[in-house]
């Protein structure tokens, strides 16, 4: 709720916020004046808490002495308004999205270096989309599949992170085990069959290259003879079970940890939490 309110803050609140950003240095900035002359200052102030104290003081003063010009606690001539001069209008709307500028911007630098960097930047933008690090969101299926879409897909090379450098929990356990056995298998098969039937294996490898990890090992399994296949599958099922068991255990373990953590609250967490809430509120 708080976030919502802040987002759709009324323009008047906007100007209050302007003031707040100025609170460090001065309090005689123009927005403060606007505020001073705003007819419904009290209402405005009530809608926004955490106002700097000086504003509240000003409001109190205004309340005491009644509204109008006489309310200023200082000599307005000191800031450049003559007696009887019209004061600037109250601004009740946010500044325009595309404000007029008094001065046109200077043209951009041009030159060989600039051109090259521009080309590099645009090329880089295309390249990163083809890198394996670019994770696309699984898109929802369209009703009609566009023919061209099939050809627009880019095949990215696979990326296997160096697990030694990453925390253990990063490792997808199942995948890792399979990946280990797979690489061995690939070696074996390629060595065995390379003499007899090169072309076939090559095709296979090419196919495999295009597919995901999981499918690969399935393919490998199909290649094996019946008995072996059964053995393998059995093995893998066991493996999977074991992994699942492990994950489950871990989860339980962590849950326990979580509980203990929250039970022995050292007060730090509370601070962090309230921070979070504050953060959210400002959006």
């Amino acid at each position: 709720m708080a976030a919502l309110r802040a987002e759709r803050a009324s323009p008047a609140v906007e100007s209050v916020r302007d003031c707040r950003s100025l609170e460090s240095g001065s309090f005689l900035s123009l927005p403060t004046f606007r505020l001073l002359f705003c007819p419904s200052l009290e209402a405005l102030v009530l809608s926004e808490q955490n106002l700097p104290t000086f504003l509240v003081q000003l409001v109190a003063m205004a309340g005491n002495k009644g509204r109008g010009r006489a309310a200023y606690t200082f000599n307005i001539e000191a800031v450049g308004f003559n007696r009887g001069e019209k004061l600037p209008d109250v601004v009740l709307k946010p500044p325009p999205l595309f404000p007029d500028t008094d001065y046109k911007p200077v043209p951009l630098k041009t030159g060989e270096g600039e051109d090259y960097m521009l080309a590099l930047k645009q090329e880089l933008r295309e390249t990163v989309k083809r890198m394996p690090y670019f994770i696309e969101t699984p898109e929802e299926k369209e009703d009609i599949e566009r023919y061209s879409k099939r050809y627009m897909k880019v095949y990215k090379e696979e990326w296997i992170p160096d697990w030694r450098r990453l925390p253990r929990e990063m490792m997808p356990k199942k995948k890792y085990k399979k990946a280990g056995s797979k690489s061995k298998k690939v070696d074996n098969t390629s060595k065995d069959t390379s003499l007899t039937n090169t072309a076939d294996v090559l095709k296979k490898i090419e196919e495999l290259e295009k597919r995901g990890d999981g499918e690969k090992s399935d393919e490998e399994n199909e290649e094996k003879e019946g008995s072996k296949e059964k053995n393998k599958e059995g093995d893998e099922d066991e493996e999977d079970d074991a992994v699942e068991q492990e994950e489950y255990d871990e989860e339980e373990h962590e849950e326990e940890n979580d509980y203990i953590n929250s039970y022995f609250d050292n007060g730090e967490d509370f601070g962090a939490d309230s921070d979070d809430n504050m953060d959210e509120a400002t959006y």
Binding site: S26, G80, V128, Y133, P161, E169, L202, N257
Partner: protein, 555 residues
């Protein structure tokens, strides 16, 4: 972390790594360090995707992890490192100017992949270079690794922290995360590798028809399975070193603009000499004697020792104090005041921003306040010789935009009439009344360069975010047209390859109508302009950031 910075980080992450990584990254930037389970819960993303995203972010040095007590691993985003992604084109271009195409590709690959082993990097770069060469020519691995060694020697690339090797005899469960150690000594030590071979061309499918290259490829892939000689030693681009280079270049060109080419060459020589001896964050370079400088001047630069001494004296006398004299031994010892130089550069850009935004009269007031430190409103009007009403208007405009700040004080200040600066403030001068009664209060206008620079930096972040959003909007608006032109280009290319007649080609080219072509031109022009602005705003960002960083270190 301000909202503008977070917004910019979000846009950058999204452009580089896609939406999922962006979601996780921004969440981490907002919340600080968090364990994986909390990330999964808070972002409502599947565990698998969070893991993948974190892997990507860690690979690119954008996220670091830390083991907490109780064995929890917490992940923390490096926000300022994320913002560095803006500068990638500049890093790459710098590498090109210093180390040619090979250097360019090495840095580009390192930035694209975050970190890489030397062997993988050399192979990749050699392959890419070979592809751009004429048929029959190939790039030698040895040549690429030679450039790599030079980059490491000049510290433009550095090793990533190594995984601390744990003894196998260590009982108990393995730690939840590896500990990474930085070995200061070996940071730039290149492993001894005998990389022999040549870059390989990626064959298109037609080439494979002969069958011969086909047989080679699988061999190549099995080669990769062999133990890599420099396994586990990863390299990354040393961005600080690049920044040092940018800073030096800025100083050199500033001197060239202020004085002349020769003096800038002298400053360049001094900076080059102290590149290795001075840490990048030091406020001064090591003192250099004029004899040393004379010996190190680039060959072919014919100036006598006397002229050099004259130039050095001139530089040291300059009020901007880029060069300072630290002693008289050895024909005069000279230093370069890096901190002052950055300050002058930042002030100059502030001045020019004021000039371009508010006009030259405002700039006059701004410079006046800058020069006199503290001024009352009446004094501003008098000194600037601008009619009071206009001067007030300008002053308030700059005040409300936070270029100028207002100091409210009711301390009694003894003012030295000549310099208008505060000379003395004793305890007796503290007012008896703590209120801000107007009659006893002074309103002094000042320029706080640091806070003005911060404000401007913040605006720069905002404008880059706006530029990116505008670019994305322009591209999205014309998506269909862009796709069409891509398709047509692809068809033309394939037809040219098969040797189609000119008439046919023209027919296909006409599939894009004249107005469409015009629209494409406009789009391209706009996108180019937006992209160029991004790069150039980043230059200002660099300057302001360096200034703020160096000022914060001194305090």
């Amino acid at each position: 972390m301000t909202q503008a910075e977070i917004k910019l980080c979000s846009l950058l992450l999204q452009e580089h790594f896609g939406e999922i990584v962006e979601k996780i990254g921004v969440h981490l930037i907002r919340t600080g360090s968090q364990p994986i389970r909390v990330i999964v819960h808070d972002t409502r993303t599947s565990l698998d995707q969070v893991k993948k995203a974190l892997c990507v972010l860690i690979q690119h040095n954008l996220v670091i992890y830390q083991v907490h007590r109780r064995g929890m691993v917490e992940y923390e985003a490096q926000c300022s490192r994320v913002l560095r992604m803006l500068r990638y084109p500049r890093y790459i271009y710098t590498a090109k100017t210093l180390y040619n195409d090979t250097g360019e590709l090495i840095v580009e690959e390192l930035l694209l992949n975050g970190k890489m082993t030397m062997s993988a990097l050399v192979k990749k770069v050699a392959d890419r270079l070979t592809e751009t060469m004429e048929d029959g020519k190939t790039m030698d691995y040895a040549e690429v690794s030679c450039t790599f060694v030079r980059l490491a020697d000049t510290h433009f690339v550095q090793r990533c922290p190594l995984v601390h090797a744990t003894e196998n005899s260590d009982p108990g469960p393995p730690p939840p995360a590896p500990t990474l150690v930085i070995n200061e000594k070996d940071m730039f030590l290149v492993p001894k590798l005998s990389l022999i071979g040549k870059g390989k061309r990626r064959r298109s499918s037609e080439d494979d028809a002969t069958g011969e290259p086909k047989a080679k490829r699988p061999k190549h892939t099995t080669d990769n399975k062999e133990p890599i000689p420099d396994d586990g030693i990863y390299w990354q681009a040393n961005l600080d070193r690049f920044h040092q280079h940018f800073r030096d270049q800025a100083i050199v060109s500033a001197v060239a603009n202020r004085m002349d080419q020769t003096s800038s060459e002298i400053v360049r020589t001094m900076l080059r000499m102290s590149e290795v001896t001075t840490p990048s964050s030091a406020p001064f370079t090591q003192p250099l004697s004029s004899n040393e400088i004379f010996r190190s001047l680039p060959v072919g630069y014919n100036i006598s020792k006397q002229v050099l001494d004259q130039y050095l004296t001139l530089l040291a006398d300059d009020p901007l104090e880029f060069v300072g004299k630290s002693g008289d031994s050895g024909g005069g010892m000279y230093i370069i005041n890096l901190h002052k130089a950055l300050g002058s550069l930042a002030t100059a850009s502030l001045e020019s921003v004021v000039q371009e935004r508010f006009g030259s009269r405002c700039a006059r007031i701004f410079r006046l306040v800058l020069q006199k430190k503290h001024l009352e409103q009446k004094q501003v009007e008098d000194f600037a010789m601008i009619p009071a009403k206009e001067a007030k208007d300008m002053l308030y405009k700059m005040l409300s935009e936070n270029f100028i700040s207002l100091q409210v004080t009711n301390n009694v200040i003894i003012i030295n009439q000549q310099s208008w600066t505060r000379v003395r403030e004793t305890p007796e001068e503290i007012p008896k009344t703590p209120d801000h009664a107007p009659s006893r209060t002074f309103y002094l206008y000042t320029v706080n360069i640091l806070s003005a620079a911060r404000m401007l930096l913040h605006r720069c972040y905002k404008s880059i975010a706006n530029l990116i959003e505008r670019r994305q909007f322009e591209t999205k608006e014309n998506k269909r047209l862009l796709e069409k032109s891509q398709r047509v280009e692809a068809i033309i290319a394939s037809m040219q390859a098969t040797g189609a007649e000119a008439a046919q080609l023209q027919e296909i080219e006409e599939m894009i109508t004249a107005p469409e072509r015009q629209q494409l031109e406009t789009l391209k022009h706009n996108v180019n302009k937006l992209d160029a602005s991004e790069i150039q705003v980043d230059e200002t960002i660099f300057l302001l950031e360096s200034y703020i960083e160096s000022t914060m270190k001194r305090q």
